[in-house]
């Protein structure tokens, strides 16, 4: 009897654990099935290098282009037509109130071992939109890869003028999936602020498209675009980032995959995120500390003056 009772309890516990596991999996679709497609297909990532300030005030920013998930049929060697375009605007004003379409100009991409490199340089404060495109073909399937990022570089060279002289890239150059982000030129992208991401292909928005977020501090998270092809992404508070300096930033990669027949389209956007500047400001605590100190100090002064006056 006792033995069978134990077995019953054991079975009940097992059922409960299994039920909880199923429930957990159902309740956490965002992380449970995170970015299956994004995890399986190769995708490009623009990875920021260390900014370098030259003595004349010019600032160089190397960008590395990594190709992730190159396995199976999709080998790095299959990657072809790696090209890059860079649009540049003055850092403030025009880029913040940008209404005209960006003019991308061809920028040389160099191969360095297992990765590709491109370098941004400016002598004046400018904002940049960078787009890298590549293709990979295997077994009759073609993958169109794009990677994008927007950034500011604050050059300090005296009398510096616009650097880009290359021809504007023709519309035919733009292939693959577009992943635009709003705000696009955000001087200080930070956690706990919302970004609206729109995924489209050839000007056509893509509803119900998966967007996977790769953040080194968290497991991959998966979102679906709405009927307008949009998804609102709010980077969560990151205690590890908070412990670093205000200037420290982490790189977060948003990956979206879409397929039409044998053509696969993979878009990646790199976000360089800082910790949130204001969300941790506790005004109640500040006022309490201020009030308590003022009361104690004021009281002490009044008491001391009163005591001194007494004969």
């Amino acid at each position: 009897m006792i033995k069978s009772g134990r077995a019953l309890i054991f079975r009940a516990l097992l059922c409960f654990v299994l039920f909880m596991l199923v429930l957990l999996m159902l309740m956490m679709p965002q992380s449970g099935q995170a970015g299956d497609a994004a995890l399986q297909l190769p995708h490009l990532r623009i990875v920021y290098g260390a900014e370098q300030a030259l003595p004349d005030g010019t600032v160089l920013l190397p960008l590395e282009i990594h190709c992730e998930n190159v396995r199976g049929d999709y080998r790095r060697e299959n990657l072809s037509a790696v090209t890059a375009g860079v649009a540049s605007l003055p850092a403030f004003g025009p880029s913040v109130q940008q209404t005209k379409p960006l003019v991308y100009r061809a920028t040389p991409v160099t191969r360095a071992g297992r990765r590709w490199m491109l370098q941004l340089s400016t002598g004046s404060p400018r904002s940049f939109a960078v787009r890298v495109q590549a293709q990979s073909a295997a077994n009759g399937k073609t993958i169109y890869l794009t990677a994008e990022t927007n950034c500011f570089i604050f050059g300090r060279k005296r009398g510096a003028k616009a650097e880009f002289k290359a021809e504007a890239l023709p519309p035919a150059w733009f292939s693959g999936l577009d992943m635009s982000i709003d705000p696009s030129f955000y001087y200080w992208p930070q956690t706990e602020t919302s970004f609206q991401v729109t995924v489209c292909l050839g000007g056509r928005v893509l509803p119900k498209t998966a967007l996977t977020v790769f953040d080194e501090s968290f497991p991959p998270a998966r979102y679906l675009t709405d009927s307008a092809g949009r998804v609102v992404y709010v980077p969560p508070n990151d205690p590890a980032l908070n412990r670093l300096s205000e200037k420290a930033a982490k790189q977060v990669f948003l990956v979206s995959v879409h397929n039409e027949g044998n053509d696969f389209f993979v878009a990646t956007r790199t976000l360089r995120l800082h910790r949130n500047r204001l969300s941790h400001f506790q005004s109640d605590l500040g006022m309490a500390l201020f009030g308590a100190t003022a009361t104690i100090t004021g009281g002490t002064v009044i008491w001391a003056r009163h005591r001194r006056r007494r004969p």
Binding site: H280, Q282, G286, T293, G298, V301
Partner: protein, 316 residues
């Protein structure tokens, strides 16, 4: 118009210009020798202490970069500060500084309430004098430690982080946001907590003692370095001084040296704010005078002292 009212009018004018001037496009640069706080949204110019901490020595510019274009930029900012300091010297403190003006307004409220100013012994005053130099050294050294010794970046702008002007002056632009503790990490919590404690201490101090913050002001310490070569001079005719000690009694920062001086003509002390209250209350003609190069800005007179006395002397 007497010098006290003239000064009050100038202070009000500069307070409005420096706090709100940026809203009408006024840009006076980031090398002002007064507490025109950059944390005030829409301010017209910025206190030089921020540039000093951030650019000249700080992590944005390692020592190796001093002889580059960035070094030149820092040098230009310093030159701007130096020129303004040489031109007006301590007049920045006594007539222009918005935080100094605020202190005068708080003291005026105290006087209206009939509360007497706290009196300190000379020993106490003398002991507190070096604190402003300690602040100045710390605000120069800490950014160097960040840049070259691996001190955490969150100590950036160390003085700005604890300066009482940072939470107080933005109140005039409708921003009470700096009365907060930033719990992002231990360092930010410590620095913002310290800022709240010091702000409370200084505000209480300002209420009970005239120009309380100026005793500890590192910018005053920096400006006073250039007193000897500045265009603003404060001189005393020791032969006509009758030793009444009015200058000592009326001084908001308790300077004794003007009264005690018996031989030298130049009586500009490092603590002097050029408020000219001493010259206004001096009852002998031409004993105390403020000059700008050769031109006399203000000089003491018997008639002036009598008028001041008639207005209520110290407590006007």
């Amino acid at each position: 118009m007497n010098i006290t009212n003239l000064r009050a009018a100038f202070q009000l004018l500069f307070f409005v210009v420096l706090i709100y001037g940026g809203r009408v496009g006024l840009r006076l640069g980031h090398f002002l020798p007064c507490f025109s706080c950059p944390y005030v949204s829409g301010c017209a110019g910025q206190c030089y202490l921020m540039a000093l901490q951030n650019s000249f020595w700080g992590m944005e510019m390692p020592l190796a970069a001093i002889f580059t274009s960035r070094g030149l930029e820092a040098l230009l900012v310093f030159t701007g500060f130096l020129l303004l300091t040489l031109l007006l010297g301590k007049i920045w403190c006594g007539w222009i500084c918005p935080f100094g003006t605020l202190q005068d307004w708080i003291a005026a409220v105290r006087r209206k309430l009939g509360i007497r100013e706290s009196q300190w012994s000379w020993v106490q005053t003398d002991r507190l004098k070096p604190v402003k130099y300690a602040f100045l050294i710390l605000l120069l050294v800490i950014p160097l430690f960040i840049a070259h010794m691996g001190l955490h970046d969150d100590f950036t702008l160390p003085f700005c982080q604890i300066c009482p002007a940072k939470p107080v002056l933005p109140l005039f632009a409708g921003n009470a946001g700096y009365f907060s503790v930033d719990t992002t990490n231990t360092i930010t919590a410590f620095m913002t907590g310290l800022s709240m404690v010091l702000t409370a201490l200084f505000l209480v101090g300002m209420f009970f003692k005239d120009r309380f913050f100026c005793i500890f002001c590192p910018l005053l310490a920096l400006i006073s370095i250039f007193d000897r070569i500045g265009f603003v001079r404060f001189s005393k005719n020791v032969k006509t001084c009758i030793g009444c000690a009015n200058c000592q009694r009326i001084c908001p920062v308790d300077i004794r040296s003007v009264h005690k001086e018996t031989s030298k003509q130049n009586v500009m002390s490092p603590e002097c704010l050029a408020c000219m209250k001493c010259a206004e209350s001096c009852p002998t003609d031409g004993t105390l005078s403020f000059q700008w190069l050769r031109w006399t800005l203000f000089t003491s007179s018997f008639a002036g002292a009598i008028r001041k006395l008639a207005r209520g002397g110290h407590d006007e």
